[in-house]
């Protein structure tokens, strides 16, 4: 039962405690807040959708016996060597620098064990990462930190990063405290300085240029590797169509809930659109061009469970990508080393202090003492367990809807719980056949 203050103290809705604290901080420091993790505001999302399950008109599959396949192939459009994944969950690009080497190795090992891919990030490819991850996607980012044609050729796919869901239109920041000698060396920059990654590519602007850039990358890699184009969710209808026109094999769409290692809070919370409407718009754009499933769609931003994966696939994605959730599986925000959370001004469950380099659980740090808290073997086991659980959840839902392959899930299997979600996802409001905006 809520306690009523006898003095009648009433918090302001416009100025709640966290807003007051932020104004006080800004007045004190004169600079915007930079932080990691992703958006913290409530947003319409996959929780606002439910599956209908089987009934008289749909036959379910036996939950523990009948096959429900999960394999996907990415890059079938132009590449001579598409990527074969055993599960439709990949690991998103996260840089060595933002993450420590142990975290990158743990991710690589888990991906190899599960038959899926991991992705490099700003700063280039590390040897540990290449050795541990059997299927590795190499990002070509605006900064071109660590960009190397030898690494390009030994990657399994290439991902041209146009934008990121946490900050579409912005480049990254890696604050000086995380720039060790090794990180600085890989990026050709002095040790200890704040590194601001560029927001635009240095040698192309616009979709016509991008088509030529993709041609160059294919020439350099013998037309073997799938070329992904990653976009932040801002104008998916146009961006997806332009990426298709430019020659992408795969489009990676990162919604507003996607994470970051360090960006302005105002960017994270106020730029871009949520994953739910972005995914619908992207699928519609692919369908309008008659390339849905020919150009594969990987969606990321707020994927946490097998249910989220199932809903993304049912809306038309070919696979999903996780970043923040993978970090949580490695121990992010776990209630251990609590005193170290408190030392950087936070608590387990609230931490978004990736930018400080003082990660209490050793995931987003270059500090040798902190990093030693995450052993690659242990981290790989945790992430493998988590991915396994997600796949079991995904198959549970797929079988309940009568699907023998998870890619057979479809919009008709779902209903929306809110008017907003119905409008954004293009899924009928539960108990009706009504999709706002469609009659």
């Amino acid at each position: 039962m809520a306690v009523v203050d006898p003095r009648g103290l009433r918090p302001s809705h416009t100025f709640p405690a966290h807003v007051l604290a932020e104004i006080h901080r800004a007045a004190d420091q004169g600079v915007y807040e930079i932080r990691g993790f992703g958006t913290k505001r409530p947003l319409p999302g996959f929780d606002d959708l439910v599956f209908l399950g089987a009934s008289m008109s749909r036959y379910p599959l036996e939950g523990y016996r009948e096959r429900c396949d999960t394999g996907v192939t990415l890059g079938t459009r132009f590449a001579s060597r598409p990527i074969e994944l055993k599960i439709p969950i990949t690991i998103a690009g996260m840089s060595f620098g933002a993450l420590g080497a142990n975290a990158k190795e743990a991710i690589g090992r888990a991906c190899t064990a599960m038959g899926t891919s991991s992705t490099t990030g700003d700063g280039g490819m590390t040897e540990e990462e290449r050795q541990s991850s059997e299927t590795l996607v190499y990002q070509v980012l605006p900064s071109r930190y660590g960009m190397n044609p030898d690494d390009l050729r030994r990657a399994d796919a290439i991902e041209i990063v146009v934008g990121q869901g946490a900050k579409p239109g912005g480049g990254g920041v890696l604050l000086g405290q995380k720039i060790t000698e090794r990180v600085a060396g890989m990026r050709d920059l002095p040790e200890g300085i704040d590194q601001r990654s560029a927001c635009r590519h240095p040698d192309w602007t616009g979709p016509d240029d991008l088509a030529i850039k993709i041609q160059e990358l294919r020439e350099i890699t013998g037309w073997e590797k799938p070329v992904y184009v990653k976009i932040g969710a801002s104008r998916p209808t146009y961006d997806v169509a332009l990426a298709v026109k430019a020659g992408a094999d795969v489009i990676v769409l990162d919604g507003m809930q996607g994470g970051t290692a360090a960006t302005q809070d105002v960017f994270i919370e106020h730029v871009g659109i949520p994953t739910l409407p972005a995914l619908r718009q992207a699928v519609e754009a692919l369908q309008a061009l008659d390339v849905h499933r020919e150009v594969q769609l990987v969606v990321s931003g707020g994927i946490r469970s097998g249910a989220d994966v199932a809903k993304a696939l049912a809306m038309g994605a070919d696979a999903v990508s996780i970043g923040s959730a993978a970090m949580v599986a490695l121990g992010c925000n776990k209630a251990v080393h609590v005193e170290d959370y408190q030392a950087i001004g936070t608590e387990p469950g609230y931490c978004h202090h990736c930018h400080t380099g003082r990660c209490p659980v050793g995931v987003t740090t270059q500090d040798p003492v902190l990093e030693a808290r995450l052993r690659p073997e242990q981290g790989a086991r945790w992430l493998r367990n988590y991915l396994t659980a997600m796949i079991l959840e995904l198959q549970t839902i797929a079988r309940a809807n009568g699907k023998s392959h998870v890619l057979n899930l479809e919009p008709e299997d779902m209903a929306a719980l809110t008017v907003e979600a119905a409008a954004m996802a293009g899924i009928p409001l539960a108990g009706t056949s009504w999709i706002p905006g469609k009659g």
Binding site: P190, P202, W204, I212, E216
Partner: protein
């Protein structure tokens, strides 16, 4: 000399032949004719081959070059020698925007003029431009040397890190955190070496040196108007 006409051979076939070619020395060089503005010509070469291209090329000629010596007897489009790692690329004519973008090593020589953003994001490459450059050249340049024998356009060296820029003419304006620095005997010597390797003779006394003021290396509220 092996001669390949791009009227008869595709860029893809040409690049495969060049990548499979034995290193120069006893091996003959390559002559490419009729490029007609084709993109990605001689991109991604990895060996010590010598390639002469007769005519104008499109985007990303000699992109990500490793070891090869490539000469373009003509003009070139956007991003010539982008992300070049080593070797030497020489353009007898003019180069469009983003020449040598994010180059990690080797030398890019542009005997004519270069467009905007020449040397953008450069990471160790040496670039020598015989003529002038467009705006925002040396933007976010991290390391290496950019020699501009003529005039530099607006916002030279904006947000520059540790790269060094030499300008023989005038600079229309300097970008954020870019300042003029003393031309020491050490820098004169380096400039002379760069010009010699580029095959250019210039009066060293005309050149000025520019680099980073290093005021933006860490955020400081008093520099907020520069961000």
């Amino acid at each position: 000399m092996n001669t390949v006409s791009l009227s008869l051979t595709s860029v893809r076939e040409l690049n495969e032949q060049l990548r499979g070619a034995p290193d120069a020395g006893s091996a003959p060089g390559w002559r490419v004719t009729d490029p007609k503005g084709a993109h990605a010509v001689a991109a991604g070469l990895t060996g010590h081959v010598q390639v002469q291209i007769d005519g104008h090329v499109g985007y990303y000629c000699a992109g990500m070059n490793q070891h090869a010596a490539i000469t373009v007897d003509g003009h070139c489009g956007t991003g010539v020698a982008e992300n070049m790692m080593s070797g030497i690329v020489r353009i007898r004519g003019n180069a469009s925007q983003s020449a040598g973008a994010s180059g990690h090593g080797g030398m890019l020589v542009i005997e004519g003029n270069a467009g905007p953003r020449c040397g953008i994001s450069m990471k160790g490459i040496d670039i020598v431009v015989g003529g002038k450059t467009g705006h925002m050249s040396g933007f976010m340049a991290q390391s290496g040397n950019l020699v501009i024998c003529g005039d530099a356009g607006h916002d030279l060296g904006d947000s520059i890190y540790e790269a060094v820029i030499y300008v023989g003419g005038s600079a229309a304006s300097l970008g954020a955190d870019c300042v003029e620095k003393e031309m020491t005997p050490k820098h004169r010597s380096r400039l002379q070496d760069l010009l010699s390797r580029a095959g250019m003779e210039r009066d060293l006394d005309r050149f000025r040196r520019f680099g980073s003021a290093r005021k933006l290396y860490h955020f400081h509220v008093d520099h907020a108007d520069s961000y």
